[in-house]
């Protein structure tokens, strides 16, 4: 009997467990998945929770509900991977042998990386919304907040769901208008990039949103420390920005277990081939989703497309065939813009987001790089798709793993990647 071991039962790991149990014969392959958590979070919902648009029950379910029969779930902390001996050591001293390993341990916030970010002010005047706790505490804060300077801030790239902070700023504008207190709130978006939008087509199509919503942008701001006492953030060029409420995306890092295992880059991401999803650590170790160092967005949709290709490549690896170099960095993301509207973007490693229609070329019903109510409905429907199809490894009709160029207004553009 051979052993396939998956580390992490989040979006990627759960999808792989579902895909592989259907693919690999039960008589030959044992499947085991390890995760210390008991709750599976619908992370896109962390954006809606602070504004009371979702309730806590919308974003969490029991982790074991989504692990298929025939897959062994171990709820224990992972100590490290011993790649030389093909084993994983758990905190309870158990040792798990594997023939094939899939790393799906994701990424997490690391506020401790920024001087002064943690402290008495954490989750009082300085919040993240990338964790369940952060998102829920921010909701409680916003329910009673009387207004002032709201600073929405990105510490450094890469981050999970790079558009989420922008969506947060848009939804905040909508939220305070609906509460009748927009005039009491000053919204500033602070980014280490050269602007809120960095791709030519998106800048051209979307820059009006910031002006329309009266959101100030401070670009090229690389945070050096948070001065919690005086409520300001300071960058390496000594520029200071004052806040009353700081909603920050801290540095994102891969799991510390990766560091303990002796591989990973300076942010604990696993070096992975960007087309096959095999790691460069060892042939029998694969990685998927936010845990990898791929130059793709860290997003659930990317993990979903990767899962289809990784399943095929695991099969090929077992059969001793050459791996398919197929993954193209495909991502497909809704971007909430407030007031019941949203954008949709569909792109890959080489193609920047452009205008067009999706998924049916020339028909839609969704519009690319354009604010519509239909896109917002798509985003809301996605929660159902996530819980009922996506993590269960069901193919989403009409949406292919690699990006489709049909239906997109593509001209000779500069490759920005």
């Amino acid at each position: 009997m051979k052993e396939l071991l998956i580390l992490g039962a989040g979006t990627s790991g759960t999808m792989m467990a579902n895909h592989l149990r259907k693919t690999l014969p039960k008589k030959d392959w044992n499947l085991t998945i390890v995760d210390q958590e008991e709750t599976h979070y619908y992370q896109p919902g962390f954006l809606f929770l602070p504004f009371d648009l979702y309730k806590t029950k919308d974003v969490k379910k029991k982790i074991n509900k989504f692990i298929p029969k025939g897959v062994n779930l171990i709820q224990e902390k992972i100590e490290r991977i011993d790649k030389d001996n093909d084993v994983v050591l758990l905190q309870n001293k158990d040792i798990l042998h594997y023939d094939i390993l899939i790393i799906a341990t994701g990424t997490n916030i690391a506020p401790q990386e920024i001087e002064g970010m943690l402290g008495d002010h954490w989750h009082k005047s300085v919040f993240d919304f990338y964790t369940y706790e952060g998102s829920k505490n921010l909701r409680n804060k916003l329910r009673n907040w009387e207004g002032g300077k709201l600073v929405v801030h990105i510490s450094e790239m890469p981050i999970k769901c790079p558009v989420a902070p922008l969506e947060f700023a848009f939804l905040a504008d909508s939220f305070f208008i609906n509460k009748g207190m927009r005039d009491k709130v000053d919204i500033t978006y602070v980014t280490p990039m050269s602007g809120a939008f960095t791709k030519p087509k998106a800048t051209e199509a979307l820059n009006y949103l910031l002006e329309q919503k009266n959101i100030k942008v401070v670009s090229d701001f690389n945070i050096e420390h948070v001065d919690g006492e005086n409520k300001k953030i300071v960058d390496f060029a000594e520029e200071e920005i004052e806040y009353d409420l700081l909603v920050t995306v801290p540095t994102n890092m891969g799991d510390e277990m990766i560091e303990r295992s002796g591989f990973g880059d300076e942010l604990n991401y696993v070096p992975t081939d960007k087309t096959t999803l095999q790691t460069t650590v060892k042939d029998n170790i694969f990685a998927i989703g936010d845990a990898t160092n791929l130059p793709a967005s860290k997003a659930g949709s990317v993990a979903h497309f990767e899962a289809e290709i990784l399943t095929e490549n695991i099969k090929r690896f077992i059969e001793g065939k050459e791996l398919k170099q197929e993954f193209d960095g495909h991502a497909n993301c809704f971007i909430e813009t407030g007031h019941g509207k949203a954008l949709l973007i569909d792109f890959n490693y080489n193609q920047e987001p452009v205008k067009g229609s999706f998924p049916f070329p020339g028909v839609g019903p969704l519009s690319l790089l354009k604010e519509t109510h239909m896109n917002h409905m798509g985003k809301l429907a996605f929660k159902w798709i996530y819980w009922n199809m996506l993590i269960k490894g069901k193919h989403i009709p009409f949406v292919t793993a690699t990006m489709n160029t049909a239906g997109k207004q593509i001209e000779e553009t500069i490759n920005n990647n």
């Binding site: 450094e156 050269s194 791709k199 090229d220």
Partner: protein, 104 residues
């Protein structure tokens, strides 16, 4: 939109923001001319940073201020002294590599 620009005796292809679209077209002379446009007086230390950025770019490693600070080539403070006001985007332009971008 792609723009052709002449630096010294070489014709290179840039995007509308003045970043080279192909690192293979880069020469030290091109780098020097772009540095002039940016108002940077290049020293050995500047070139050391430029070489590091190009090496990382060839490896397709994403660049950030933190990564450069941890590289051992230059500290973040020094990086700001060498290329004031947006060091990563200025040094990337001189190095002939794309400026760091997000997904939109």
């Amino acid at each position: 939109m792609v723009v052709e620009k002449i630096y010294g005796e070489l014709c290179v292809t840039c995007n509308e923001q003045g970043y080279l679209t192909d690192l293979n077209q880069w020469t030290k002379e091109v780098g020097s001319e772009i540095a002039n446009e940016e108002g940077i007086d290049m020293t050995e230390k500047h070139w050391e940073v430029i070489n590091y950025l190009q090496d990382e770019c060839r490896k397709e490693a994403p660049l950030s201020i933190r990564k450069i600070g941890k590289s051992g080539v230059v500290s973040i403070k020094e990086f700001y002294q060498l290329f004031p006001k947006g060091p990563l985007k200025i040094s990337s332009r001189i190095a002939g590599i794309p400026k760091p971008v997000s997904c939109i």
